[in-house]
Symmetry: C2
């Protein structure tokens, strides 16, 4: 096994595809050198394999020393200078470079190769002693901190002394003498702290720096970053050793960063900044006034032309928009880095489409579809903040529903509605939300809660409406007419902004950039649909006609989950539902059910009309009955304080009777349907009567009746018999044949395991991966998401929040098992998913792999799902996943 590769090494495959081995930076450097023959300072890459060996075994693989020596010798030959040459030393940088970019997380050492002798040679050969000693003292400090772990405050003290000595010159430009003395002082700090003199042998410096880069892979902040970004801890980093070039050498020198096109708009033409007589850090740091790249044509016309040429070659080669760093040293252009450039959502869409037409690039439609990410679409589809001042961020919760919202804070739904009626823009802030808060959520620009997770009520409802929401912002303590964050107190009516993507909660007004959808959006989505056709469809979760209409506009090919619980709520219906619950005779119960039948039939008619010709999957009532009764605790409090009226007492007794210790695992779903037999029959009758009405009206209703929370075949078989009786009754009322399927949610682990039994009586399965995740993990999302999940994610105990992205190895295995067993018994069974995971690209990738027939997600997520399904299919087709 070879561990070290010169940038000019001839790899059997294009180096740009070898990021696993060479890291991102190393792979692109090798591509520029060995394939494109661009002017890149010579150097070599130590592979990630070497790093993994170092981390596992605690030291270098035996071959590495010899390989590094050989690579250094070759570098010296190419550079025409020797490491540590006292007269004209070669200086190198040592940089990390992992497969996935981890900006600022790992260590870098610059100007390596300087020592007490060579610094003098550098001064002489450049004729710039100040430059030489400034480089030396910077190297000593950087090496000291990064490699030798000397606390930086020890260096700072000496630097302050030097600055004081320099007097008025201050830090701007210390003299060569002051800098030489500072170098001596810093070496003394190192010697004192480590008990060893500062290493003078450049090979020694190099070896220690490589070790330090390897080690930095496992630094706490690097680990935390990877946990946050879901990057595998086992990848390791490559190390790039490269000849230093100096943009600050003289007036014919400079440095810059450039994009091959505008990353904000996708417009063609050079885009970027440059600085004369400066080093790369100066551009990034923002301490110097940079100039737009276009102006370079005036200053360095040849370099500008060379850059235009290089950018063109890079684009033709990578067939994408590139981001580059370059340095000009004494009139010569050096390319230091390139990579595929980050871009805005708009730019992503426009670039993708434009590049299918660009004769130099000619992206295929499939490639164009792969160039746009879910985040890009989120940017396009939801308003975003223009720019946020970090100091105004009050707290960060979970970004639960994307988009940015600004409004005056109110703490009850009623207050929010009142303020909205006064014409205010409102942000509803609650500890958590419940169905009681719906009217306040409806009028709010956005919703902020201090508790709850990504699948809490607030999160699910807000996503369903495409309304921005931040949930589980635990630092916020809501108390009556204000909330506090630490010492900070925010009163009712103050303006607060939330970013539903980052989870940031910001005090005061923040400018919003409205969502604008470029025409390229529809093109890309249509191309995605072509790829998906006949493979996997995308449905929406929608509970009423208007939502179904929106979903269809966003491209939904049916409803995967129509929850019926909302049909039991509302001022007029709730009392009827309560009458049903409180009924003391079967007749009373039936009377209430008959009343509900009338209104629910109307609900179903509007939904079937909006989705005419497409399947509508209706889930029979799922939540426990106590959700339709007044809050038990409120009644308890009233009882203790003032006593209850007779009517309240009746409700209190019912609330008490139906209350449960673990409602998630209680009398809900099909259990409730069986215990309260009339309920499901009423729902099915309302639905089928609606279907018959639609059929008679010339429509094409396609109905799928879904039974929730099934654990055994017998439950489904029992309800199926009821349904079949109702189908027969409804069919008798119309000449048009009714198209009705009966199936079940697979949302308990047992149902997944015994999917074979259940498939015998199911026309379809819809995986309820929210509940399946709750039960497989034993995680109540209401409880664990806020209290346990952040800790688990920070410490890497879980690689990702399993409610956000499906846990492939655990929950995913249950789903895959159910797919296999269900299809074995009934090969034509329709399989879909209607949990929150249906809109998550990583989860969609998994669902595609195991061959589900559709995913269903909230209407506003449908475009993302259409894209993600196509991308997943392409990834599996090309075998790159």
């Amino acid at each position: 096994m070879q561990y070290v590769y010169g940038f000019d090494h001839e790899h059997p495959r294009p180096p740009m595809e070898l990021k696993d081995l060479l890291g991102g930076k190393g792979a692109n450097l090798a591509e520029m050198v060995s394939v494109l023959d661009l002017p890149v300072p010579p150097g070599f890459t130590i592979s990630t394999e070497a790093c993994r060996h170092y981390l596992d075994a605690g030291g270098w693989p035996p071959e590495l020393e010899g390989e590094v020596d050989a690579a250094v010798a070759r570098l010296e030959e190419l550079a025409g200078r020797q490491l540590g040459d006292p007269s004209d030393p070669l200086l190198v940088s040592v940089r990390s470079g992992a497969k996935f970019s981890m900006p600022g997380m790992m260590d870098t050492v610059l100007d390596l190769g300087l020592n007490d002798e060579s610094v003098r040679g550098l001064a002489e050969v450049t004729g710039d002693a100040r430059f030489a000693y400034d480089s030396y003292r910077r190297f000593i400090q950087m090496f000291g901190e990064v490699v030798l772990e000397v606390p930086d405050e020890l260096f700072d003290a000496r630097i302050e002394v030097a600055q004081a000595t320099a007097g008025d010159e201050a830090d701007a430009r210390m003299s060569a003498e002051v800098l030489a003395q500072l170098a001596e002082d810093l070496k003394a700090v190192v010697a004192e702290h480590t008990g060893q003199p500062f290493p003078q042998d450049p090979r020694d410096q190099l070896r220690q720096s490589i070790d330090a880069v390897f080690r930095s892979w496992n630094s706490p902040r690097a680990r935390a970053y990877r946990n946050r970004e879901h990057i595998d801890h086992h990848l390791g980093t490559a190390v790039n050793v490269q000849m230093m070039v100096f943009g600050n050498r003289d007036e014919r020198s400079g440095t810059g960063v450039g994009f091959t096109r505008d990353p904000a708009t996708g417009d063609a033409g050079l885009y970027g900044d440059f600085l004369l007589q400066a080093q790369g850090e100066d551009v990034v740091a923002g301490t110097h006034a940079t100039r737009p790249l276009a102006e370079m044509a005036d200053v360095f016309p040849e370099i500008h032309d060379e850059l235009v040429d290089i950018f063109g070659r890079l684009e033709r080669h990578y067939r994408d928009m590139l981001d580059t760093e370059f340095t000009i040293e004494q009139g010569k252009l050096w390319m230091l880095q390139t990579r595929v450039g980050k871009r805005t959502g708009t730019a992503a869409l426009r670039l993708a489409v434009a590049m299918t037409e660009d004769p130099n690039i000619r992206l295929t439609r499939a490639e164009a579809v792969q160039r746009v990410t879910a985040d890009h679409l989120d940017q396009i589809l939801h308003p975003q903040f223009e720019k946020v001042d970090e100091s105004r961020i009050l707290a960060t919760g979970l970004g639960a529903s994307p988009g940015a919202a600004v409004g005056q804070v109110y703490f009850t739904a009623d207050d929010a509605v009142a303020a909205h009626q006064r014409g205010e823009k409102v942000l509803l802030v609650r500890p958590e939300t419940s169905p009681d808060d719906i009217h306040g959520m409806q009028v709010a620009e956005g919703v902020l809660t201090s508790r709850g997770g990504l699948v809490s009520h607030a999160a699910v409802v807000a996503r369903g409406w495409g309304k921005p929401a931040v949930v589980g912002a635990e630092a916020i303590h809501v108390a009556g007419d204000h909330f506090t964050v630490g010492d900070r107190r925010v009163e009712e009516g103050e303006v607060v902004a939330i970013d539903g993507q980052t989870g940031d909660v910001i005090l005061g007004e923040v400018g919003l950039a409205a969502a604008t959808t470029p025409p390229e959006l529809d093109m890309i989505l249509e191309w995605a649909d072509e790829i998906r056709a006949d493979r996997m469809s995308v449905r929406a979760n929608a509970d009423n006609g208007p939502d179904a209409t929106v979903a269809r506009e966003y491209g939904a090919e049916g409803i995967g989950l129509c929850r019926t619980e909302h049909m039991f709520l509302g001022e007029e219906r709730l009392p009827v539902v309560q009458r049903m619950i409180l009924a003391s005779t079967p007749e009373e119960e039936q009377a209430a059910l008959d009343e509900l039948l009338e209104v629910q039939r109307e609900d179903f008619v509007t939904i079937l009309e909006a989705m005419d010709g497409l399947p509508v999957t209706v889930r029979l009532l799922d939540p426990p009955l106590h959700e339709f009764l007044p809050d038990y605790e409120a009644l308890l409090r009233s009882q203790a304080r003032d006593g209850l009226t007779e009517e309240e007492t009746t409700l209190f007794e019912a609330a008490s009777e139906w209350r449960e210790v673990n409602p998630m695992l209680g009398t809900r779903g099909v259990r409730l349907g069986i215990v309260k037999g009339g309920l499901y029959k009423m729902q099915v009758r309302a639905l089928l009567e609606a279907a018959a009405l639609r059929a008679d009206a010339g429509g094409r209703p396609i109905v799928e009746i879904m039974i929730p929370l099934v654990v055994t075949r017998a439950e489904l078989a029992l309800v199926r018999r009821w349904v079949e009786e109702e189908i027969e009754a409804a069919q008798a009322t119309t000449d048009r044949p009714l198209q009705v399927g009966v199936g079940t949610m697979i949302e308990t682990p047992r149902a997944a395991i015994r999917a074979d039994d259940i498939a015998e009586v199911a026309d379809f399965f819809s995986f309820g991966t929210n509940d399946l995740t709750q039960m497989a993990f034993g995680f109540s999302r209401d409880d664990v998401e806020a209290r346990v999940m952040p800790r688990y994610l920070d410490e890497g105990i879980l690689p990702r929040d399993p409610f956000e992205s499906i846990d492939v190895r655990g929950v995913g295995e249950l789903v895959a098992l159910a797919v296999e067993r269900g299809r074995k018994v009934r090969p034509d069974i329709t399989l879909g998913v209607c949990g929150e995971h249906g809109g998550d690209p990583a989860s969609i990738d998994f669902f595609t792999e195991i061959g589900l027939d559709y995913v269903s997600c909230s209407p506003f997520r449908v475009p993302v799902a259409r894209l993600a399904v196509a991308q997943a299919l392409l990834a599996h087709r090309s075998g790159t996943d």
Copy 2:
């Protein structure tokens, strides 16, 4: 395929082993005829196959008609009479006979073959017209009700008329004339109700009767019975057609039931009753005064001798105690039925041991072990009621902890303690119990709750103490100082009895038969242990020294589950625990933990001492923290009513903060251990310091540290690192090597699925099948057991309560998967089970099959588990399971 077998058919295997095919009754009749050559009225059996065909296809298999005809012809030949012969008719009985006895559940037709002609022949040939017409009118009524489904009240009306006609003779002895007229009247009823005359053709009568027996398999009461008794609905019943003999024929006739030994004590010698000039029903009905079998020697000395001889042959042949029915017709003995006799626990043990020594039987020890059931041991080990008057049964709940208890009812733990101190025997009655009720439960004879299931707090605690309990008696409404059942009101201090096996709640005193353990108990258990040796051990769930001592006395070979939560309770400890929870600084928290460390170390020393030399599996804290805080609702009520003190406010805030929506799926187990890092470290330190103290004192502590509720390898790996640090620290204090293992509960579905990952860092798994069942089904036992489970069991939606006996196809598959994956990674991993299923014989059978290393159950259940494990091993060895 053959469907009909004469009793004398030569089967390739002994018919007694063919109950699947012939049903129990048919198999034993064939055994008596074809193998033992006993005097049995001739007949034939229609197999269960025929019944299954009838039920599936809705009619007889085509071959059946011919086979029945042939069998009838052969029967007529053997009997020397013809069906329907007008001069001397053959009469037959048609009886059901399923594999498992279902007494009274299915239909029987007697005296078949009578019609208007043959009844006269019967009168003539017997010289007893009264007998003939009585038989005929009985046959018409029975056939009418059973086969033709004529409502019995229609017949009753006519019988009343006949009785009125008979006048003073009344029902005792109606005259032949009256009976003949009654037969005519009853036929008229049939004709009127069915629109058809009463069938006169005996073949027709037979065919219809066979159909009726087949159909009766699926009668609602038969289905309900099978649901209750966990009998498969697909088995079907056999039908036995047999020549009638008449014990009521004359004074040389009679009938009786006899056991080959005393089924109550196991003592040798005939045991049973007989009646002169009577039919079998008369003995069973208890309407006639029966005489003990021993007296038969005076009345029918030859018959008595013949019976003694037959009983001896039966015992030698079956090698067991038999239960028989016989009839004497005109001085000839006929054996009508035999089967292995039911027996008391004492008799079972004594018989099993005695038969190993009986030279005619020579049971092996393995066979003797198989002759005793878990129910037998329960009878032996717990006091039982002598006899219960059914009318006094107030309600029936779930029998949660076996044994009988009588006491005065009290409704709070404090009242129970006060009454106990006054010297009363107390029965604690609560809606449900919590740790707050422990002191009341301790002094009570038994515990009765109106809510909760078989694994509710009351049930688990009571079983742990071997104290009788009935839970979930939903008919009971507890209200302050009394409870009601319907209109019945029971005041504090009234006497109530509960049967912890049947679940009966009985008003008033009931005599108790104290538990007596015959010396044979230990012998049988030792023989069982020999069979288990090196295959599967039995541990106990015990949380303190005294319980551990009891467990060891009952034969426990270690502790499989030592819950540590009780170490956090009690008047002195709870305030310290609360200080830990409320701590506002790490120092305060640590101070509280240090205090707990001291007391817990003492707890562990006593447990390790009691189990010296045997493994002690200690589970680190599992329940959520709010269980250690005051009741939230009580505080809420106080707050609303009177306001709270400052101290109460603090507790209220903490209770509110730690409260959870679904505590079962919340911040408990290892999650709590990680969120509150100091807690587990303290527990581990206390345990290991205790182990070191025990080792220094010359003991041999074997410690297994068990981490609850793990879902991923990373959780266990993290805690394992903490444990290993503590092991190192504790080992440094003693020269004796400490024996410590670290493992986990497998109680979430995800942990079962990813047992391979988890096994990498686990020395053992203990399956927590209670929680695994809750999560796999999504059944909160607190909620579903009372509200949903009874319905599901009655309707056969679930074959058994999965909390009582493991759900093999669902939860069992998860366990089996975890066993396979865990062993693959770590072949020497120790695997056990510590849920309630560890004491359930059917579950133990499954655990044996998948090769667990031990089961763990409550101390009082250990003898049952020892027996059940041996039986399961024997069953699998012989392949009869």
